[in-house]
Symmetry: C2
Subunit: 227 residues, 2 copies
DNA sequence: ATTTCTGATCTTGCATACAATTAATATATG
DNA sequence: CATATATTAATTGTATGCAAGATCAGAAAT
């Protein structure tokens, strides 16, 4: 495989792992040195990540890890909610034994992690659970879109799973989602997934609220635009 | 602005305009000559377009305009249907006078084009109408996703608007969508948009059916997966 | 003390050169 | 004549060099 592809993955992983935080500068020269290559493949990797919306490449001003505004972040979670609920709707309509089993297995893993209060493990298993739902939509294109957005939001999702009660609540919501999909209730599956995802966005917004200047609350601006 | 950005736009436009058709090879050297630049910015543009899914860059084997399989194409239309219906749902919930006026204006333009049987003009106005709905969702991130997918599908949508009766039917569907959004009926708006988009995918599938090998019908494979 | 200019420095954008891999063509072989 | 193989040509991937714009520091001015 080409250098650029590997580098793209490596940089993306570093961002997801939180090694580069939102706002951090991704300077070509130092990345080139770090990975022992020239600037060319680094540039190519950065531009691709930029095109995917993962980072922000500003002409002549270098690349930084995106810092979405609170409003933007809420919009991203809302979009994730819509896409996930679409996956859930299709999954309820098309569920196969394979996909059912995959979701079940992922759910069990989440359960175990939650029982141990291991939020890092839950974070990983939670991702598998959601990805199982994406696949269960049996629309690989939609699933790809869902994966991509899920990754972009991972940095913001991780933080809030720290709280133990949120872990248990999340698990219960998962159970409800599974139930609805198995019952073939498209509407219910869609609604439950939508709420499950959106509550994360809202929780995160509330958290950001404490750090960001007043009057900039995403929740407020949402209600405002919601009329 | 940088060369690469302009080139990216230029190549994308050429693809949308149908100058490069699905399957065509996008060779770096000839593009460089055509635009009077070196291969470097061309490569950067191609890699970005590849990351956006607009073209297909195969390692060591050059870039081609994507040739989605019939199944993949159907999945893309289905995803578009889900995203558009999400836009419609939010638009119905949050409609403002500004957005209402914009949709109305776009609808009027479609009407005029349809009356004249000018399918090229209708194609352009139709796009404006849909974009007005995306914006009316008041979620700029979701709207961006919708724009992007709309562009990717444009090559496949254009062909089928040639038929005059489809033009008139499309127009009527638009009217129904507008009505639902204005009534604030989220569910109805979502359903009508979903069907409006999906019928395009199905029509296109039927068209492709004639050209593709038997047993590969996207409609069939869909029904199959739908169980 | 704060702001504005000016030059020095650093970083990015593009071109060119070369290396590595794939595709094409010719040649050999059954 | 078809198939396999070797050689050549074409194309992509990476490195390097240089020019142009951005950033920063310090001096001058308000």
């Amino acid at each position: 495989m080409s250098q650029a592809s590997r580098l793209k993955q490596a940089i993306e992983d570093a961002v997801i792992a939180g090694e580069f935080q939102p706002g951090d500068r991704l300077d070509e020269a130092s990345l080139a040195e770090r990975f022992g290559v020239s600037r060319t493949p680094i540039r190519e990797a950065l531009l691709q990540l930029g095109a995917e919306g993962f980072i922000d490449v500003r002409p002549r001003r270098g690349a930084i890890v995106s810092v979405p505004s609170p409003t933007r972040l809420f919009e991203m979670f809302e979009t994730m909610a819509e896409i996930e609920s679409a996956c859930g709707r299709l999954a309820a309509r098309r569920l196969t034994p394979d996909n059912d089993a995959a979701m079940e297995a992922a759910h069990r893993a989440c359960e175990a992690a939650a029982r141990n209060g291991d939020s890092e493990q839950y974070y990983a298993d939670n991702r598998n659970f959601h990805e199982a739902i994406y696949r269960a939509s049996r629309n690989s294109f939609l699933a790809d879109q869902a994966f991509a957005l899920h990754k972009r939001l991972s940095a913001y999702r991780r933080i809030q799973l720290r709280a133990r009660n949120r872990l248990l609540q999340s698990l219960q919501e998962h159970a409800g989602i599974l139930e609805a999909i198995r019952a073939g209730d498209e509407q219910l599956a869609a609604t439950r997934l939508h709420d499950h995802v959106l509550v994360q966005g809202e929780r995160f917004s509330d958290m950001v609220l404490g750090l960001s200047p007043p009057g900039q609350s995403p929740a407020e601006s949402r209600r405002e635009t919601a009329k």
